[in-house]
Subunit: 445 residues, 2 copies
Amino acid sequence: LTKCFLLQVVNILLHYIKKMFDVKSKILDFHHPHQLLEGLDGLNLELSGHPESLEQLLVDCTDTLKYGVKTGHPRFFNQLSSGLDVVGLAGAWLTATANTNTFTYEIAPVFTIMETILPKKMYGIIGWGETEADGIFAPGGSISNLYGILVARYKQYPEIKRQVMTALPCCVLFVSEQVSINFCHHQGHIPFCVTASTGSAVFGALDPLQDIADICEAHRLWMHVDAAWGGGLLSSGNHSHKLSGIERANSATWNPHKLMGVPLQCSAILIREKGLLEACNEMHAAYLFQPDKLYNVDFDTGDKTIQCGRHVDVFKLWLMWKAKGTCGFEAQINRHMELAKYFCKVLKKKDNFKLVFDAEPEFTNVCFWYFPPRLKHIPEGFERDQELQKVNARARLIEKGTAMISYQPCGDKVNFFRMVFSNPATRRADVDYLIDAIERLGKDL
Amino acid sequence: LTKCFLLQVVNILLHYIKKMFDVKSKILDFHHPHQLLEGLDGLNLELSGHPESLEQLLVDCTDTLKYGVKTGHPRFFNQLSSGLDVVGLAGAWLTATANTNTFTYEIAPVFTIMETILPKKMYGIIGWGETEADGIFAPGGSISNLYGILVARYKQYPEIKRQVMTALPCCVLFVSEQVSINFCHHQGHIPFCVTASTGSAVFGALDPLQDIADICEAHRLWMHVDAAWGGGLLSSGNHSHKLSGIERANSATWNPHKLMGVPLQCSAILIREKGLLEACNEMHAAYLFQPDKLYNVDFDTGDKTIQCGRHVDVFKLWLMWKAKGTCGFEAQINRHMELAKYFCKVLKKKDNFKLVFDAEPEFTNVCFWYFPPRLKHIPEGFERDQELQKVNARARLIEKGTAMISYQPCGDKVNFFRMVFSNPATRRADVDYLIDAIERLGKDL
């Protein structure tokens, strides 16, 4: 019965995958929240509290996928994480079946070993050498960054573990676009860390890491690099120079679930000085981390985290790395960059599109405006911006369900599209389609 | 090719599941970390950097499972999370295939709706009424508790969002076994929150929630209940009274991946006052949470969290609830409690076992010592404790791989076993087997 039920579910999933990769299928069948809540066409998300038959569960699985978004569709450009790597998916299915937790070697011997191998591979690529650093997988880039900052603070103020927070001076963390560090000292605030970003979410902007590293060295500050998005570029010989200076950082966040296309979630926090992560976060819970175990307890990772238990996120990445090799990731990332260049080139030739930045893209983000015919005759300036802000061609794309792309205002720039390449299924024809579709659906807006 | 590869992987997984449920198979084939690192019998965890064939990947999948721990085996008693619910597993496979993120309705319409339905169901069971509270799924109990405490602090000091931390008074959080609240005021420290625990990890101890609620009301303190482990008892009419008082809490953590047997990870943080979670954590990232979307953006949950993106943990629980109904969870939990009672009864009859607490178990944790024959003649006291601490019968169980159970010292109590029932596959015969095995393997220790 178990086998039969699971095979039927797999059948539904395989059918979904096949359809998802078919460019002619819709990415989504859009409905409003109240429609899904109220139920439609047999779909009922409410829980009655009574047991349902296995047949009904299969229908529910089909419906859940039917009303969802096909994030692996070749024309899904909406997020930094997109695409569906089949080997990565197999890894996720296996992980779910193993149903264990990464906190001790005892209950996850293979996965905890892999969690030493992959960070080593990653900080080797960063350029920290291969033997002395540390790293774990955390639930997403924000938590990875949090780990980086906790360790930075602990390094400067180890007494934080024993004393209350107010015993510390007012600690200041610098992020992109900051005031000067000397001014801050004058105010009695003590800087302890600078976080640099490589690959901002909207523009894909890359901070000048060498300059930041110089400042951090001069002021003895911890340097954390948020390379959640940018980290993937390190796999490419052609593009890794854009992160030059990351080898001087003290810690880095790198999300393989973004540019490298590993299924969600897969985010690494890498710390250059081995031992700090544990010293900062350890609680020595005697019921989990008994020192008198029968094996070398160095592989019990739970004390490195504030989480204790952690989902196994490493296996998907391990299996994909086996399948692709380092060169496979490189080829994939080079292809994304080539598509970004191609997309820019096409847009530049069209007079109803305008790039937010004219320069050749440093990353796979390409930001642009679309001008419907009625706006072409309004001169640049406040009035045109007001109108442009309202041109929501994206909404029509979503309603049609044939392509999905992000848009947003940013700073003084009114609503613009953000195209981004991270989906391995995307081809030039899909890019051409997107431009046509925006023109077609937006011309009377 | 995709279909063929995935079906072969599924075949490996189904074979594993079948073996796992077979009580005669080993739970683990124990090896030391250095053995797995060095590689054995064809197993090679290191990444060469070169692409491997799909056939090799299938071998890798088989090996990964072979050297892992079968956490769903009927005699795996090692963790609060154990067992493998097949419907939950199907849910996890579907979630992996959908490969999306819970932060916006836009890219996860069905899952974000489910993330309103399930918390509502859960806080309904807690007794907060069904319309006004709030909740999300977080990566594990520790992060859920963190959310509870962040919201508690925000409620008392909303200025934390704009001012630096040192602008606040020295805030104090009370956890179990604390000094008095008045004393703390004398010291100039301001209490803001009490966290109560229902189901401590080792003993399964339940804090007196009504008394704590009285104190919190009198002192106007936020009451957070960590019911990560204990929450499951609420599903049972026979046992929910043990959490009486939780209906007076301001926030609660409840992990369906523990007592309710949902595959890892599935942890909810429930907040009684709607709106606080968002007010506390929102950052208004314009590139994700555009207010001019074409749908009601109340379902974009990303601004409720410090994480932004979150793994979809809700679907497994939703599907299991559909399959079992509320009564199915109730029956499962009653069975765990009955097994705990049975286990105690059997141990009491044996003179080479001793319970750490003689009373009937309040929860499914049962802590006990085993005395090998040579210790039976040493009188109770320091010398016997010294010897008992060294009796590591558990190590032998792990080496044999036929059962897995946790052990630890706690406070003044030397190493003892912690039996715990949360694995739906466990039967009385497995309990009997465990006792026999400890006697057999431990008699000459």
